[in-house]
């Protein structure tokens, strides 16, 4: 870590803490994610992966610690400064029900506070981005309720990349999808991240996703990053917690409620 220059790090978190009432979800998270890297954060359900990602971009304020995004300390950055750099695919898609697909994709271009273009050009860009995620122009005028789960994820992905962000967050990108559609989404994420050169941070507990998407993997357990290493080391991580998680074994140091 020490040999890297400061500019090489796109996202840095030092001692990040966050509690909800008495529940300490993050207990001092340290992360350093390089520019252009695809980092996957794994961890059990309720381990705080989503909270961590939301803290990293300021959607949830951290109680303590320091977060630096693209060289800018989050505590000193304005929200538009951060969001200009960020695209995010949400777990359930988080598409706006009242707007057609193309307006969802072009939302930031039409209504964002930092960049606005005319509707005709925004529609063109939306249709380009939809094509990039494998959806034809006929989907542009549909409403989110008319789409399948896989299509909604793809629209969400098109929306996340519409303004060419330098950091893309993927929150459980394959949850709720059948294995084939999950494979399609994983490949799309891999190719889009590769093409754009964006830094990608994915949170998931789907090990197929991890192996497809990740350059490096971090495991969040009990509020701290327990292990970080290249994806190739996942089968022999040298950490019993990671081994148990990767193998999906009920027996091991990770205690699962209800298994005695």
């Amino acid at each position: 870590m020490t040999e890297r220059t400061r500019d090489d790090i796109m996202i840095r978190a030092e001692g990040v803490t966050r509690a909800f009432g008495r529940k300490r979800v993050l207990r001092g998270v340290d992360l350093a994610i390089r520019r252009g890297e695809s980092r996957v954060i794994i961890g059990g359900s309720g381990s705080g992966k989503s909270v961590l990602v939301k803290c990293l971009i300021g959607l949830i304020p951290a109680d303590g610690g320091r977060i630096v995004i693209d060289g800018i300390p989050l505590s000193r950055a304005t929200r538009p400064e951060v969001m200009r750099r960020v695209g995010m695919l949400f777990q359930g898609g988080a598409l706006f029900d009242s707007l057609p697909v193309w307006e969802n994709v072009a939302f930031r271009l039409l209504r964002g506070e930092d960049e606005r273009i005319d509707r005709a050009r925004a529609r063109e860009i939306a249709i380009e981005k939809l094509a990039r995620v494998g959806l034809g122009p006929e989907t542009a005028d549909l409403y989110p309720a008319e789409l399948s789960g896989g299509m909604q994820k793809r629209v969400g992905l098109a929306r996340a990349i519409a303004h060419a962000p330098s950091i893309i967050f993927f929150d459980e990108p394959t949850t709720g999808l059948d294995p084939i559609m999950a494979g399609v989404i994983n490949r799309l994420i891999r190719s889009i991240v590769g093409e754009t050169g964006a830094t990608a941070v994915t949170i998931t507990h789907d090990m197929v996703s991890v192996r497809t998407i990740a350059d490096r993997v971090s495991m969040l357990h009990e509020g701290v990053i327990r292990w970080t290493g290249p994806v190739a080391q996942l089968d022999e991580p040298g950490d019993p917690y990671v081994t148990q998680f990767v193998r999906g074994a009920p027996e091991g140091p990770i205690h699962v409620e209800g298994t005695g």
């Binding site: 959607l59 960020v86 009242s98 930031r108 209504r111 506070e113 960049e115």
Partner: protein, 257 residues
């Protein structure tokens, strides 16, 4: 359990809640004056709050006007004062019943709908998505609804006033043997511009309260369907109670000036 401690906790919780609503309302009003402005969202909210509330508010006003005419006649007959029906109906509807009943009906319809819509957006992460898309939820969701409700309610209440007086007139000429011309002349002679203005000012304040409570409860909705359901109920209950409390305060104010 110590009753004093319980009263203290409840008082502190009430004050904290009031403070949160006040801060939220101030931020919403501030957002009205900060670009960008979302005209489409405003028009959509205005149409929903104003135009689509017309049937329920109009029917409420007609029936209330009719009932008020009957009650006033029954009361007036005790001291040979049946002729006060037109003026009491007009003043009662315009100063009090139009804005209060209109406000309560719109609170039931609109505060619940706003809380449910925004609450659902919150639990499905659409509010977070707005933020990541460089859009302020206060400017995009809250400010247009606050403005739309504040402007729509006076218009709705103006229509309710006319329909309420119409309801009283129908009952007076069909059931109480009033002459149509005399009824209308009495209505116009006794009604003052101050009556109408005080009712419309009340309506604007009630509109603000309805949108504020709907947005506030929606933005602070708990998780899942039960969280949204609770937010919806709280929005209607708090908006209704605040309308009645504010109505008294405004009536005192107009009574004094």
């Amino acid at each position: 359990m110590n009753p004093l401690a319980a009263i203290g906790r409840s008082t502190l919780a009430f004050l904290a809640g009031t403070g949160r609503i006040a801060v939220f309302g101030s931020r919403g009003v501030a957002a009205l004056f900060q670009p960008p402005f979302y005209g489409r969202e405003f028009l959509r909210a205005f149409l929903f709050i104003g135009y689509y509330s017309l049937p329920v508010v109009g029917l409420t006003a007609i029936f209330t006007g009719g009932a008020l005419a009957l009650q006033t006649y029954a009361g007036g007959a005790r001291f040979n004062g049946e002729q006060i029906v037109p003026s009491i109906v007009a003043i009662g509807i315009v100063r009090e019943l139009g804005p209060v009943l209109g406000g309560l009906m719109v609170a039931g319809r609109v505060a619940s709908a706003i809380a449910a819509e925004i609450g659902t957006m919150k639990v499905t992460e659409q509010i977070d998505a707005l933020v990541t898309l460089s859009t302020s939820p206060m400017k995009y969701l809250v400010a247009p609804r606050l403005l739309a409700a504040t402007l729509a309610l006076p218009l709705l209440v103006a229509v309710a006033d006319i329909l309420g007086i119409f309801g009283g007139w129908i009952v007076a000429i069909t059931r109480l043997d009033f002459s149509s011309a005399v009824y209308l002349r009495n209505t116009i002679d006794f009604l003052e511009s101050g009556d109408v203005i005080s009712g419309l000012v009340k309506a604007a304040v009630f509109g603000f309260i309805i949108a504020l409570m709907g947005c506030h409860q929606g933005m602070h909705s708990g998780r899942g369907a039960s969280g949204v359901g609770r937010a919806t109920t709280l929005a209607v209950v708090t908006a209704s109670v605040l309308i009645l409390a504010t109505n008294y305060i405004l009536t005192e104010f107009f009574f004094s000036v």
